[in-house]
């Protein structure tokens, strides 16, 4: 990210008041960034540091916080609920991301062959613009075991009633399905935008060299799309690890803890049990985990670049 130096002083120089301009530039620069800087310090920088501090305390909001050192982190290592939440979250990410990315890739490639229609792109993006709360409610209704339309359709085809969100084994896959529905169009459009930036001449050259469709896909499209794919993979994994709204609206962590993901566990610890210190410690661990996963992903995906 190159920050260009201002060219205004050059002209101000011609006007013969460089030093005065410099001071004015500094003063106005600082005035203009001041509100944002206050916002940043108050709601980003200080809270980030305060979060670390809180994670070393035992604090129920009512009595003063007690410094407990690493106790929260030690407790976390032995807390089976934490490990289960971590496992449930990882399971969700694995259910969600591969299917979503592949499906998005297929839609994007199909669209790049068929149409650039603004209407079709608009329709694909609609679910992503909706509040997750609305999406959760809507699918809770569609998936209702008794009178939901999905089960009506399954029964009409001669199948048994499927208790999508009410059965521990099915709850997480159902949540993943809901979120794939919400995000696949958006992901497809990101990939589609990437495909549009690949010049047609590259494909022409490849086809003159006698490359097959499949070869072109793997040897031309995928490598040239790599930056976009890395962006999509990293951001969607980060987002997926933080799932909350859909679960808060549909299953509330149940049935039998089957959907109690990390964010839900943090929320529960902080706002129903008022274990502020412990909840913050878990959120710090989640943060570190996300940094680690993103870096691993970027390394893996860049490693693939060398053999092109």
């Amino acid at each position: 990210m190159s920050v260009q130096s201002s060219s205004i002083p050059k002209l101000a120089l011609q006007a013969g008041s460089t030093r005065r301009w410099r001071t004015r530039e500094t003063v106005w620069g600082l005035i203009l960034i001041l509100p944002s800087l206050i916002g940043f310090i108050a709601f980003y920088a200080v809270p980030a540091i305060r979060g670390v501090v809180i994670s070393f305390t035992d604090w129920d909001l009512l009595t003063p916080a007690k410094a407990v050192g690493l106790a929260n982190y030690m407790h976390l290592l032995k807390d089976p609920n934490f490990w289960r939440a971590l496992k449930v979250t990882a399971y969700y990410v694995l259910l969600n991301i591969p299917l979503q990315t592949i499906l998005a890739m297929v839609i994007a490639v199909m669209m790049s062959r068929l149409t650039k229609s603004l209407v079709i792109r608009s329709i694909l993006i609609i679910p992503w613009l909706m509040p997750s709360v609305v999406v959760g409610l809507l699918w809770l209704w569609l998936m209702d075991p008794n009178i939901g339309i999905l089960n009506a359709a399954i029964r009409a085809l001669g199948g048994p009633t499927v208790p999508f969100l009410n059965l521990p084994d099915l709850a997480m896959p159902s949540i993943a399905l809901i979120n794939i529905w919400q995000y696949v169009g958006y992901t497809a459009l990101l990939i589609f935008a990437g495909l549009q930036s690949i010049p047609g001449s590259v494909y022409e050259a490849a086809s003159i060299d006698g490359a097959s469709e499949l070869q072109m896909f793997w040897k031309v499209t995928v490598p040239l799309l790599r930056p976009v794919l890395v962006f999509v993979a990293v951001t969607s994994v980060i987002g997926s690890f933080q799932i909350f709204d859909t679960i808060a609206i549909t299953t509330k962590g149940g049935p039998v803890n089957a959907t109690k993901v990390l964010n839900w566990y943090i929320y529960e610890q902080a706002f129903t049990r008022f274990n502020m210190g412990y909840a913050t410690a878990i959120s710090m661990v989640l943060f570190l985990l996300l940094i680690f996963v993103s870096m691993a992903q970027m390394r893996l995906m860049r490693a693939g670049e060398s053999d092109v």
Binding site: I8, L30, G51, W181, S283
Partner: protein, 303 residues
């Protein structure tokens, strides 16, 4: 398209099965995307007592607007209970109003202050400019949950829980994304007009408000729409800091409404009327600004 065979009869164009299949799949995907919305509307327009008949009917059963009236508090509580709703008044008008107030506060504040900062980062030189900007960008990576508890503690200690200001404040002065987004646009616009104005003796704020802002209306309005939709959709933060009815926003109100199960099951027709109302503003904005939103997706995709 050259057929490899020589005979005239076989030179008929082959049926493009691949293309037909691809179109069919695309249409199927579009149907899967849109059907839930139709079902939402269909349920909202179904008479509550008729919901259990004809569960598979694609059209509303005994079409009525009663559910919208119900969730907007336009019929009495007893009538509502008789129709299968809860006895409690569901004050969606209030929640809608709250969501509008909150979104407006955040949009106006965030866009104004972020635009000011973005302009300074793009055009003016001042000490630590690049360092401050780099720190803003680094904050883009921090997940929301990390900030949730410390920000809750802060808003609580300022005695601002259950106030609009408390919900709005963390996003009202800036978000790293907004500053980044607008800075990119300011870097892309022509400097000549600005420079001419400065040489004529205009001061920085005059140039910013009278020359630069009018030129960047498209970018500013795109950011405003993105910010509006994000604020409108937000759930966890308002749930935590503003759960009282007087400041409760739509998403939180829907969550409360969902957990009320008057007759053993959620009040589906009422809920779907509520969700339909909740997405109308987004739909309207999208119809007006769809292209800009789509373009901004490409833009953020390549940052």
């Amino acid at each position: 398209m050259t057929a490899p065979t020589q005979s005239v009869q076989t030179q008929r164009r082959p049926i493009p099965w691949g293309k037909i299949l691809a179109w069919a799949s695309l249409v199927l995907i579009l149907c899967i995307t849109l059907f839930p919305f139709w079902w939402m509307l269909r349920t909202a327009l179904t008479y509550p007592k008729a919901l259990f008949q004809n569960t598979a009917s694609l059209l509303p059963v005994q079409t009525t607007l009663i559910n919208f009236k119900r969730v907007l508090g336009l019929i009495s509580a007893q009538e509502g209970v008789a129709l299968g709703g809860t006895g409690q008044a569901i004050n969606f008008i209030l929640a809608l109003r709250n969501s509008i107030i909150l979104s407006m506060m955040v949009v106006v504040g965030q866009v104004t202050f972020s635009a000011m900062a973005a302009y300074a980062f793009a055009r003016l030189r001042f000490p630590f400019r690049n360092q401050i900007f780099a720190i803003y960008i680094a904050a883009l990576m921090v997940p929301g949950i990390v900030m949730l508890i410390p920000n809750f503690v802060l808003v609580r200690s300022l005695n601002l829980t259950n106030t609009f200001l408390g919900v709005a404040l963390p996003a009202m002065l800036m978000t790293p994304f907004a500053v980044f987004f607008l800075r990119q646009f300011f870097l892309g616009i022509n400097r000549e007009v600005e420079e001419a104005a400065l040489i004529d003796g205009a001061d920085v704020p005059v140039v910013f408000f009278q020359v630069v802002l009018p030129m960047t209306v498209p970018a500013i309005s795109t950011l405003a729409v993105i910010t509006f939709i994000n604020t409108w959709n937000n759930y966890l933060w308002p749930l935590v800091v503003a759960n009282e009815e007087k400041v409760r926003v739509l998403t939180v109100a829907l969550g409360v409404f969902r957990s009320q199960t008057p007759q053993g099951a959620p009040d589906w027709t009422g809920l779907m009327a509520g969700t339909t109302l909740a997405i109308i503003p987004t739909f309207l904005l999208f119809i007006l600004m769809g292209r800009k939103i789509l373009d901004s997706i490409q833009f953020t995709g390549f940052k």
